[in-house]
Symmetry: C2
Subunit: 551 residues, 2 copies
Amino acid sequence: MNPALGWGTTTFLLLLAAVVCHGHVERQEQWEEVPQLGESRFGSLWPLPQNVVISPVAFMLRSSSFQIVHSAESSAGPGCSILQSAFRRYFEYMFGYTKNQGGNTKKGQDSEVTELQVWITSADSECDAYPSVTSDESYELTVDQPTAVLKAAKVWGALRGLETFSQLVYEDQYGAKKINKTDVQDFPRFAHRGLLLDSSRHFLPVKVILANLEAMAMNKYNVFHWHIVDDNSFPYESTVFPDLSRKGAYHPYTHIYTPTDVKMVIEFARMRGIRVISEFDTPGHTQSWGKGQMDLLTSCYSGENPTGSFGPVNPILNSTYDFMAKFFKEVSLVFPDTYIHLGGDEVDFTCWKSNPDIQAFMQEHGFDKDFKKLESYYIQKLLDIVGSTKKGYMIWQEVFDNGVKLKPDTIIHVWKGNEEQYSKELAAVTAAGFHALLSSPWYLNRISYGQDWTVAYKADPHDFNGTDAQKKLVIGGEACLWGEYVDATNLTPRLWPRASAVAERLWSNQNVTDVGDAYNRLTQHRCRMVARGIPAEPLFVGYCDQEYKGL
Amino acid sequence: MNPALGWGTTTFLLLLAAVVCHGHVERQEQWEEVPQLGESRFGSLWPLPQNVVISPVAFMLRSSSFQIVHSAESSAGPGCSILQSAFRRYFEYMFGYTKNQGGNTKKGQDSEVTELQVWITSADSECDAYPSVTSDESYELTVDQPTAVLKAAKVWGALRGLETFSQLVYEDQYGAKKINKTDVQDFPRFAHRGLLLDSSRHFLPVKVILANLEAMAMNKYNVFHWHIVDDNSFPYESTVFPDLSRKGAYHPYTHIYTPTDVKMVIEFARMRGIRVISEFDTPGHTQSWGKGQMDLLTSCYSGENPTGSFGPVNPILNSTYDFMAKFFKEVSLVFPDTYIHLGGDEVDFTCWKSNPDIQAFMQEHGFDKDFKKLESYYIQKLLDIVGSTKKGYMIWQEVFDNGVKLKPDTIIHVWKGNEEQYSKELAAVTAAGFHALLSSPWYLNRISYGQDWTVAYKADPHDFNGTDAQKKLVIGGEACLWGEYVDATNLTPRLWPRASAVAERLWSNQNVTDVGDAYNRLTQHRCRMVARGIPAEPLFVGYCDQEYKGL
């Protein structure tokens, strides 16, 4: 069944036409197979639930009589703000803000769903908690008349189930809202389904971040990896070291994230079951840190004279570690997530090599000329500092590659190389007993002409040689949108629905790999995102009933 | 001098940092030379005027005392709505909508420009006319205190000069508006500087078209090539054949351009000195036409039986030409421009070949098996029909390549091939004495990672072997944004500032080829577009003082 039959059919015919007469696309040589639009038996569901049975029996839904309520048995009630605001949000998604369909006829007549009961089954609903890597996101949804029931152990599963319920609602040919009798048992394949945004290379207004958190929830993402600072700018306003943003941001007032902004982002994300993991990458990628913190970075030398430019964090000064201890103490309090991403990638040794004090220190410590040892020395001390805040840490793969001693629960973030290379890395990381997170195939900042979402869709974090135990150590993946070429003007359409492809790979069953079926569902899912106010770009020729209203 | 010194300097340093520590850009192999941001001696001017001398002497500009007025000698006055609305538009661009700087101190004090006098020197200002390919867009601008003077023969030059004046205004470190003593003599290198948008593969809301006309004016474009219908949908609402959009549009009410919409687009464009050239492409690319017009398209056959699908326009029926005569009569009245684009590209002969009536017709007319002759037969008759409406026509290069007899003033639109191929085509077209228009290197729908604007910037319509007389037959070029992958969600940032690169190539002197200087100016020009409400995407790492306020 297809919730938007008229739409699908029309576009299907037109697409055929487009394929016959190829309209100035002669030179689309890289354009491989373009799936042809048709109907999926799973309608517009995205990402596809683990188990779903949709019956042909359809029920009515009316905004005037339909309500989402806490079930009597639920451990959560009206005091649970996560659910309360989710009820309102999804009601609006389903019925719009102003529509009121039909008169207030009597409830419970045949073939009408009048109620969605949300039933949190565990004694602790986790209503006031933050989501974590061990959060239970599973749920069961039974759509029947007059009552649909959404059962979940915790609020996190209820959030995912509400999204699924809203995706099952469609309009018939008269514009009436309908939902089919349906059974869903669902849970995520991977616990960590993340999206990285980079607010350093370009500043991203809070509005843009919030809109993308909304879109993430629509795609069942559960981690916002906030690459908040980098070489280019330091927009994070630290209360302990306010000079970092005052001197290191693009602008000290208009291009920073105040403590209130950060809190708002974290709470907005929590309400959607999304963790916020901040990344403060050191010792490289820190040019902007040096502006507001004297002597933090290494002075580069030309022969015996400082050049006036600076390299990575200076690893030989006690003051560096004093600073890091204070700074990460603050960060560990500001960001409630139990993990911090510490970066550790792409350390350029040129400046360290040039500095006579560092040369002497290397000598002293018997590092010889091996600057990887100096890097490891720094990282080791940093990990001890952050470990003392009781946080777990994530690091880019170089830290593992360079043999730094790591706590067993460390998450190694694999980002380098082609398929062969990242598969080997996943095998190596998990063979060493560490948790792995994959990003290599999902650098969505890299764009190309045509339907490149299919490339992201086909990658799988379990495509490597390893035991079942090794596979279990892969906790998921992250789509990355590095910021060189994106800001508020183009970020959202460039990201969506391309990031939706990664979302399905990380949520749905491993055997969900039919690109044609995915195309049919994703085409409708992207129109739904557009209708909800997210400027998700088109996959191919066609239209949405409700086109984007902005620019 | 650089109107935004603080901006340029800060970003310059940060960019250097980015180059040293390359932040997850390891795999940007196609990324060739990235120019480093600095200051251009031409500030933020884009496209660069033909002659400009900017003195270091700076004058104040205050919104409370500054005004744009008709000079006493001007042939245009307050009755000229093109200028009146341009005065208001540019005042707002320069001073914003609400700012009122400083008290209302006495006028004419030293070092202040209090007036821009706009002086139309020709007896006929062309205030109420439509722009055309022969419109005079030249102007002279003298910025001095207390009065700046903008002289132009016609309103079209005045519009270009107002844009230039507004680009000379900058903020000093205290936020005060300033402009330097400056002399400009300017005119376009090419008369036809067009942008093609495709409203068939995706429907483009009028709002999106108007925003892009605004952006075009900021870049001194003067032709909007409206590829309004194609295989996929027929959004043009015809008064004579209303079924065309009623049955051929994606939706008969929400996805069409009414006669009022079309008028609004044309008038909005006229006010900015932009021609609107409509394209109704036949005989191929017409699948959507067939839905609302019986027997217009060729029935395709499998053996002796019609397959139920349709091919190009049926060229053997008198009814076809009756239809075309009536349809193009309407089009010629709706679109005031003296040119119509008739398409003629990519005709697929498969369906014609399959049709027994067409086979018989070919026999009868002695065309043997040469379907190019049949295509020419159709096009010839169409050109005669359109010629009788007194319009000139533009056609895609295939029509020329296939040897159709053309009127001497026909414009051949070159769109195929790589540099070697399109250079040859330009040489052939102009050697045959026809006017040529280049688009091959400017298919901006084709995207790639990194700064691909530089590729568009380096192409030149005169880079072919030919005499001076041949070069003069090249009337310009058009950037094309075909619609397979763009709609309201992503069109504007994908187009700008990439289309700005083409705009400078077509306006500025042939010797303006310094990519580094262009990068410095274009970076500021794109921030200016953002400040004016156009979501033009970033060229590279950095920021704008005023970031985009939308999504």
